[in-house]
């Protein structure tokens, strides 16, 4: 059963239209990623869900009751939707305990100390926000939102202030926490890896239009269009047919001496465990993942399995 349903919302800042009729649903206990580049409208969707932006049209409902339509506007404090800000927005004048307790209702299922224990911050309840590290502040911000026992929690770029080396552990931790608490979550990110790692569903946005909604596997295996395909890594267009084209991913191509397609190596770019090889075939550049670097100017053959070809929208 869906917890939230967003129907055809449009939004603009002044003359600048940022959302063009977006619709999607969030199921109970599900983690949804809003994935897109900056300016795609993902944060605006988050803010309309929280109640800080009033869409121009459309409707949003939660548990089948309206949060927003042309006649209704439930205020942020009455929505029971928590929000974790990118810069955490902890109250600087209150200690950690008071920060968390400000939004807690009487008869909450956990005490503040228990909450701090859940995220491994035992004994820090008397500290002020500025006495904590960035990572600790983020945990407080997440716990503060959870302690109010919302039905849905919104997270704005939760990994943007985390060091690359710590991200892996943090993604795992966040997913585990949300799943254990059984709370539904929507998080905004511009990093495909974040979305693939922790989301149950991914909503891909481009210029205020939803391009595709699906599980991480669906998004990877059956991308809707070239934009979505590109988000998940380099690809090659094999053939174009009107609005559609068939593509093959760079990692599904290989270099084979006896392959039919032949081209000249333009560059080899190291990317950790493999190389991305740019190969020129007539006037088109192909990208192929290959375990070793190739000599520039060398003629090579490109091979791929035809059953790996995918048909996507040409946009």
């Amino acid at each position: 059963m869906s917890l939230i349903s967003v129907n055809n919302i449009c939004h603009s800042y002044g003359k600048n239209k940022v959302l063009h009729g977006c619709s999607f649903a969030i199921n109970k206990g599900e983690i949804v990623a809003l994935l897109g580049e900056s300016g795609s409208g993902k944060t605006t969707i988050l803010r309309t869900l929280a109640g800080f932006e009033r869409p121009d049209s459309g409707s949003i409902s939660m548990n089948n009751s309206l949060l927003y339509d042309q006649q209704t506007m439930v205020l942020p404090e009455d929505r029971n939707i928590g929000l974790v800000f990118q810069d955490y927005a902890l109250f600087p004048h209150l200690n950690i305990r008071k920060n968390i307790e400000l939004g807690k209702s009487a008869g909450a299922k956990r005490t503040t100390s228990e909450w701090l224990n859940v995220v491994g911050l035992d004994g820090l309840d008397e500290r002020r926000p500025d006495q904590l590290s960035g990572g600790q502040q983020q945990r407080v911000a997440i716990v503060r939102a959870l302690a109010a026992e919302p039905e849905l929690i919104l997270l704005d770029e939760p990994f943007s202030n985390i060091d690359e080396s710590l991200k892996f552990g943090f993604r795992h931790e966040l997913r585990k926490l949300l799943k254990e608490e059984g709370v539904s979550a929507v998080f905004v990110t511009h990093d495909t890896k974040d979305a693939l790692a922790i989301a149950d569903q991914i909503v891909i946005l481009k210029d205020g239009v939803i391009r595709q909604i699906g599980t991480p596997e669906t998004i990877y295996q059956s991308p809707a269009d070239l934009y979505v395909t590109g988000l998940l890594g380099p690809y090659n267009v094999v053939a174009k047919n009107g609005d559609e084209c068939s593509i093959i991913r760079a990692e599904q191509c290989s270099i084979k001496a006896n392959a039919q397609q032949k081209g000249i190596v333009q560059s080899s770019m190291y990317q950790g465990n493999t190389f991305l090889i740019h190969i020129k075939i007539s006037d088109q550049i192909w990208i192929v993942e290959h375990p070793v670097a190739l000599t520039l100017g060398e003629e090579v053959g490109i091979h791929f399995e035809t059953n790996n070809l995918k048909t996507v929208q040409n946009k």
Partner: protein
């Protein structure tokens, strides 16, 4: 329709109403606050009396010319004085230069009406200068400063710190590295001054100059004491001597127009001459002056400090000896009490309006709430006399409706109202600065945690604004204690404050009696100067 969520029970339509209530109450509060200013406009369409025609034919030209002479005279003098002092103390060291960076701000504590009678008293025939002259055998020193040009000098001596302060900030925090660069490129002397330094600090100078000109337009006490007829004194005499409200309003509108023109010129100029500000603070290496240059610089700067600040204080202390001490002290307590009561009442009125508008602005972020939040500082850009006339208009209008005699006119409440109109902008600045410092997301965080507006007000807004509130309240209190024209026009009969009494005694040539209240006003006025100094250092 069923309500979303389980913990909250307010119906959606009702909650929208709750938000509107904040906007409506803020809107009403702001309209009430600005009503004395708005009340002036319809008066323009009432038929003019013969009194106005008379005034137009006789003194209007004189008012205009005098006002212009004073604005430009004081403007030019403060510009030269403030800029040269700022350059000397910011870019060079010489004996005492470190102290003077602070000391040269101090004349700001002298209200111009006190400075006017102090300087007149000092140069008077029975004053210390003549006495000193006679000791050295000069029997007939003859100079009279009681004219426009004397007034220009005196106003410049107390107002130059505006230019000095803005130029100093500009020189020290922003452009020092550029000046050093220019030196490294081989520029020096007057080329450095005219090609690099002055163009760079020009926006700051314009800002300071604007403040000076506004102060000149606002001044009543000094002009009245020196008998120079300007718009402000004209408004007073139309109202007090001729009881001609119609002419007073018309003069006020002309003054209003002049202020608008000045503000427009200032904003146009600062926009078209914008210098890109660098946020990097540069380590200052000042050039050390030696020999004759050091002596000249020290002589010039120290004599400005001595003439503009030390001499007036010494003179006031000197005149104290002629006062009846017991009476003076008794009177002081009652005057200080009145000043404090009206000041504190004013502070509460100001805080109410400022906190309401700023809270609403942060709770409901929209163009309307932003405009409402900013518009409360309009009163601070207007001369007190304009606001006073607006208040009188309103009071007499409502007294006419109520038909209970003069219930509002000349009441304590209307005086406090006037303070709120004039000084809300003073408390607005520190509160605004305080809220800009912190993340704008805190209100949204609190809302998303389910906090209702009143709890946000109590738990988030007020505690976080405490510093701004305290600073704003202090500045407003001091401004009210120093304030003259509003209090003079609007106070209830037999209600005197330190400021009005100092002025009245001085106006009646009772300098010894004026000394104690005047010194008190100056002492109080030192507090914001100290704050300003700390702020400039922090920058």
């Amino acid at each position: 329709m069923k309500q979303a969520g389980t913990k909250h029970s307010l119906a959606p339509t009702k909650t929208i109403g709750q938000r509107q209530w904040w906007i409506i109450s803020t809107f009403v509060a702001v309209v009430v606050l600005l009503s004395p200013i708005l009340a002036l406009f319809p008066q323009l369409f009432t038929p003019t009396g013969t009194a106005w025609k008379n005034l137009q034919e006789t003194v209007l030209l004189e008012y205009t010319i005098n006002t212009l002479i004073l604005i430009f005279g004081v403007g030019l003098c403060t510009l030269v004085l403030g800029t040269s002092l700022a350059i000397l103390t910011s870019l060079f060291t010489f004996p005492g230069s470190k102290f003077l960076r602070f000391g040269l701000l101090l004349p700001l504590a002298l209200p111009s009406y006190i400075a006017a009678y102090v300087f007149a008293g000092m140069t008077d025939y029975s004053g210390p200068l003549h006495q000193l002259g006679r000791v050295f055998g000069f029997q007939d020193l003859h100079f009279n400063i009681m004219n426009k040009f004397g007034l220009i000098v005196i106003l410049s001596l107390v107002l130059y710190p505006y230019v000095f302060a803005t130029a100093r900030v500009s020189l020290e925090s922003r452009y020092n590295s550029l000046v050093e660069n220019a030196r490294a490129l081989g520029l020096k002397g007057s080329a450095l001054l005219f090609k690099i330094i002055l163009p760079l600090i020009r926006p700051a100078l314009i800002g300071g100059l604007f403040l000076v000109m506004m102060e000149v337009l606002n001044d009543y006490g000094a002009m009245k004491y020196f008998g120079v007829a300007t718009f402000t004194t004209g408004i007073f005499s139309a109202w007090f001597s001729m009881n001609d409200l119609n002419s007073a309003v018309r003069l006020a509108m002309l003054l209003f127009f002049a202020v608008g023109l000045l503000s427009f010129a200032e904003s146009w100029f600062s926009k078209s001459h914008k210098v890109v500000e660098s946020n990097r603070s540069s380590v200052t290496t000042k050039k050390k002056l030696v020999g004759i240059k050091a002596m000249l610089a020290a002589c010039f700067t120290w004599s400005v400090f001595f003439i503009a600040f030390i001499a007036p204080i010494l003179f006031l202390l000197w005149t104290l000896q002629y006062a009846d001490h017991e009476r003076a002290i008794n009177e002081w307590f009652s005057l200080a009490g009145n000043s404090l009561v009206s000041g504190l009442a004013g502070v509460f009125a100001v805080l109410f309006i400022v906190l309401l508008t700023q809270f609403t602005r942060q709770l409901i972020q929209s163009r309307l709430t932003a405009v409402l939040g900013r518009s409360i500082s309009i009163g601070y850009t207007l001369p007190g006399a304009i606001i006073a006339i607006g208040i009188i208009l309103l009071s007499s209008f409502f007294d006419g409706i109520l038909n209970q005699g003069l219930l509002l006119t000349g009441s304590f409440g209307m005086l406090i109202f006037a303070y709120a109109v004039r000084f809300s902008g003073v408390a607005f600045q520190p509160l605004q600065a305080e809220s800009e410092k912190r993340s704008g997301k805190l209100f949204e965080a609190a809302q998303s945690m389910g906090l209702k507006p009143l709890r946000i007000l109590k738990n988030i807004f007020l505690p976080l604004s405490l510093n701004g509130i305290l600073l704003g309240a202090t500045l407003v209190l001091i401004d009210i204690l120093k304030e003259l024209p509003l209090t003079l026009i609007l106070r209830p009969s037999n209600f005197s404050t330190l400021a009005t009494k100092a002025f009245e005694y001085a106006d009646d040539e009772l300098l010894s009696k004026a000394a104690l209240p005047a010194l008190s006003v100056i002492l109080v006025g030192l507090i914001p100067v100290l704050l300003l100094h700390r702020m400039l250092r922090a920058k």
